[in-house]
Structures are given as C-alpha cells and as structure tokens.
C-alpha cells in the first residue's frame, strides 16, 4: 500500500516537522519539541492536522436510529447539534472502534472514526444498513480536519471571524459557511482542553492552517497529541481499546447504555462479567511504557501497561494499564517492571491532570 498524504503534508515539510508513518499516512510526529507543543496546548493554543481521521455521513429518516443501533452510547436522546462519544461494538461486545457521532440534524449524522479503522468501520456499518431508511457515505477523502486546542482556541477562532455565535457549548457542533466554504465546526478534541475540530475542504484547510499559525497557534504533532490525551486519560484504540476487550473492561461503562433500545452488542454486554480493569498509575522515577508488566506486592504479574509516557505537566511517568479483574489486589499496591526492576507505582482514581475544557 502506498503511503497517503494529507492536504497539509507540504505545510509540515515547510515547517521541517519530523514525519512518521501512522495509520497509512505520512504524519507529523513533532515540529519543534514535544514538551513545547504540549505546553502550548495547556496554556495557549496548538493546532493539529488530524485529516487522516475518517468521516462518514449518515442521511435520511432513520439516520439517528441507525447510529443509535450501531453504538453503545445513547444517541436517540442527544439534542440536535450535540456530539456523543461512543464505542462501536460487535455482537459479542468487543470493540471495533471508538468514535464521535455528531447530530447535525435529526436526519443527518456525521461520524468521525480512527484513521486506522476506516475500512473496518465502513465494512461493519455498511453491512448493517439494510432495514434502515438512510444512506451512508464515506467522506474521509473529501474532508480535511484541523484540531485547534487550548485555552486560547476560542479567541483565535473569533479573531479569525469563524465563530460568530455567542453560545457554543463543549461537545456541540455547527454547520456554517465562511468565505463561501461550507465547513463544520465541532467543539471537541482529544487533549482535555477547550478546543475545536474543523471539518472542511482541502484548500480551505491549508489557508486556515496558515491563518491560525500566523495568529499564534503552535503547530503540534502526533507525539504531543499522545501525551496530551494520556495526561487526561483518554483511551486510544489499539491500546486501551481493541478487538479483544469490551468497553466494560476499559473503563468505558459510562458509554454503555444497557437500558436503551436494542443495539449491537447489548445482549452480550448485559451478560458480560469484565475480565479486566483499566487503572491509572504514575511513577516518581522511571517512565512506564506500553507492554511493561504490572505486578502486585507479591511480584505476581497481574496485567500490562497499555499506554505510558512522561507527563510534561507533572514531570512524572504516567500510564494506563489493563489488569486482571480477578487478580486485582485488595491492598491497591501496584508495581511496574522496568528493565527487571519493580518500581512501586501510585494509583490514581482521577486523570493525572484536569483539562481546562468547559
């Protein structure tokens, strides 16, 4: 398979980004420094090219019912112009992907999915379409997607004239036009900060990218994005979520609405006893990495780190880990094995930092 490029690829090269393949795309890993990029998003504003992500559009009488049937979270009762985060599960409850469904209207739904899962999601969703009076389109190649994130994101968008309405709450969406371009602006993101995701045509995205940078948004790469999401404990498909676990194993029971009408995976999830528990751990010394073993005080292996890094904000090693529910110790003491030494970790019940989103 040839590697794909987003419409902003040339912008990344001009900025001398360190590039790396990700989900079939040649993507910017970092521009200047991961630390500086994370700090920019926490204290000011950063801009990310996330055009590799997939977009599907569902339209028709049954658009909302179809999406509600596909996902585990409640979409039927979401208000118009609201966004809903949800896992997408198989009949047996395992996770195909996690996504955000945006209710553009009661007959129009935009779904944003992970780049690595576009084909898998498309095949799954289109195979369940029969019986629903709606169409499903894959617009992944038509849209560019920019994420503007950070406490100054709103003022930058307003300065640019892109955000004119007064009330635009977190996790909502609007369709608008700007300089004759139809665009979709969502107040969502993957950093824990306030911010926006802007779906547009490619040419518009290139101009928006440059305009936002000239107003002071710092270009940020995928490495910073990973630290940002991990500091606020957002799961990442392929790490905390996978084909082998259900949302009930990965701390996402809040997204599984077992009381709602029939949806794919409902029966399996009703009957399911979780095998794993997702825990949050930090270390004073050392950096936990994906795959490192998690042990109890008797040095018995009870699970594995699913994502780990050094937190830029706290300066500590931070991790999410899936541990066996059965072996989860009652004394709540956890150790992480790094290069054959077991380091005692601190258990966190909340995310490592509070993001600033409203």
């Amino acid at each position: 398979m040839t590697i794909q490029k987003t419409s902003l690829h040339n912008e990344h090269l001009i900025l001398k980004a360190k590039m790396a393949p990700f989900a079939g795309f040649d993507m910017p890993l970092q521009y200047t420094s991961v630390k500086e990029e994370v700090q920019a998003v926490r204290t000011s504003a950063g801009i990310f090219d996330v055009s590799h992500m997939g977009e599907f559009l569902v339209e028709g009488m049954d658009a909302v019912a179809f999406v509600d049937f596909l996902i585990t979270n409640d979409f039927t009762n979401a208000q118009d112009r609201k966004a809903v985060y949800s896992p997408l599960c198989r009949d047996n409850g395992t996770v195909i992907d996690d996504l955000i469904a945006y209710k553009l209207g009661h007959q129009r739904v935009l779904i944003c999915v992970n780049a690595s899962n576009i084909k898998k999601d498309w095949d799954w969703m289109s195979s369940h379409l029969s019986g629903f009076n709606c169409t499903l389109k894959n617009l992944s190649d038509d849209y560019s997607l920019l994420a503007l994130q950070g406490p100054k994101a709103e003022s930058l968008l307003r300065e640019l004239g892109l955000l004119e309405i007064k009330e635009f709450p977190y996790y909502s969406i609007m369709e608008t036009s700007f300089q004759n371009e139809a665009i979709i602006i969502a107040r969502t993101g993957y950093t824990g900060e306030d911010g926006f995701e802007i779906f547009s045509g490619h040419h518009f995205a290139q101009k928006l990218w440059r305009d936002l940078i000239s107003l002071g948004a710092k270009p940020c790469g995928l490495a910073a994005r990973d630290v940002l999401r991990l500091e606020v404990c957002y799961p990442l498909y392929g790490h905390e979520l996978s084909d082998d676990v259900t949302p009930l194993d990965s701390g996402l029971s809040w997204t599984v609405k077992l009381n709602k009408a029939l949806f794919i995976g409902k029966q399996a999830l009703l009957d399911y006893l979780p095998k794993f528990q997702l825990i949050k751990l930090s270390l004073d010394k050392g950096i936990p990495r994906e795959g490192y073993e998690v042990l109890d005080s008797n040095a018995r292996v009870i699970g594995k780190v699913t994502s780990g890094t050094m937190s830029v904000v706290t300066g500590k090693g931070i991790a999410m880990a899936l541990v066996s529910k059965e072996k989860n110790p009652t004394d709540k003491k956890y150790f992480i094995n790094i290069r054959n030494t077991n380091y005692e970790a601190q258990l966190h019940t909340k995310a490592f930092i509070n993001g600033g989103h409203k």
Binding site: L29, S33, V34, K35, V227, G286, M310, R339
Partner: protein, 129 residues
C-alpha cells in the same frame, strides 16, 4: 541539518562520543543522537565500580516517545558518573558534549580504542544514513 561533531573526540556508530585521557574514557551521546531523540526526559546510569564489556548496555536515555540503550564503547570499570543527569536530563539536549557527559570508564584494553571513529569518519557515517 549539520550536526556538531567536535574534532577532538572519537565516535561510535551508536552515536556516542568518547574523550580519551590516558586510561580514562569519558562517554556521552552525540549532537545527532540528542536531536534525533528530541526532548530527553530520563537518563539511567550504572553504579560506580560496575565492570562493563565493550558493546554492553550501561544505561538508557528516554525521550518522551522512546527508550534507547546506551552501549559502552570499551571494556573497563565505571569510575565516575554524572550525577547531574538523572535530575536534569534536558542537559543531553542542551550540552551533549559538555554538561551531559555520562560516565567515565577506566579502560582495561587500550587496543579497543582503535575501533573508534574519528570526527571525519563519523561525519561520513552520518551522511551515509
């Protein structure tokens, strides 16, 4: 991008530099190494007195994204370590050839020095990558 390669040092293909002073060899990572790794956030060094064989792992440097082993270019025993580094790993980015020296080894076989690269050889090696 041009990288700083001081001519008074010797190098390895693992992107480490050595400074030879009699039978004491000081070791660190090169400017190319630090710039490839990006922000270095963790350094682990051996204990003083540890005996190392040439090419044996003596520690690690970690950036936010990656873990890289450090290899001893020569055999010998560790006589000194840079105690500033574990607390200030960012020195590796700022001063790879001075403040971020890592360990000093008392050499046990001086013939191993012959396999080290000159600044010129290392520069040629970098341009071949």
């Amino acid at each position: 991008m041009a990288h700083n390669i001081p001519t008074d040092l010797k190098y390895t293909k693992d992107h480490e530099w050595t400074k030879i002073d009699g039978n004491i060899v000081t070791i660190g990572i090169t400017d190319f190494a630090q710039s490839s790794l990006g922000d270095i956030v963790f350094v682990e060094l051996p204990e003083i007195g540890k005996n190392l064989k040439a090419h044996e792992t003596f520690g690690v440097v970690e950036s936010i994204k990656s873990v890289s082993d450090l290899f001893s270019p020569v055999s010998g025993s560790v006589v000194e370590i840079n105690n500033d580094l574990p607390a200030s790993p960012e020195l590796c980015n700022a001063e790879p050839y001075s403040g971020a020296w890592m360990i000093k080894i008392k050499l046990s076989d001086s013939s191993e020095l012959n396999s080290l690269l000159s600044a010129n050889d290392y520069e040629n090696f970098l341009s071949s990558l």
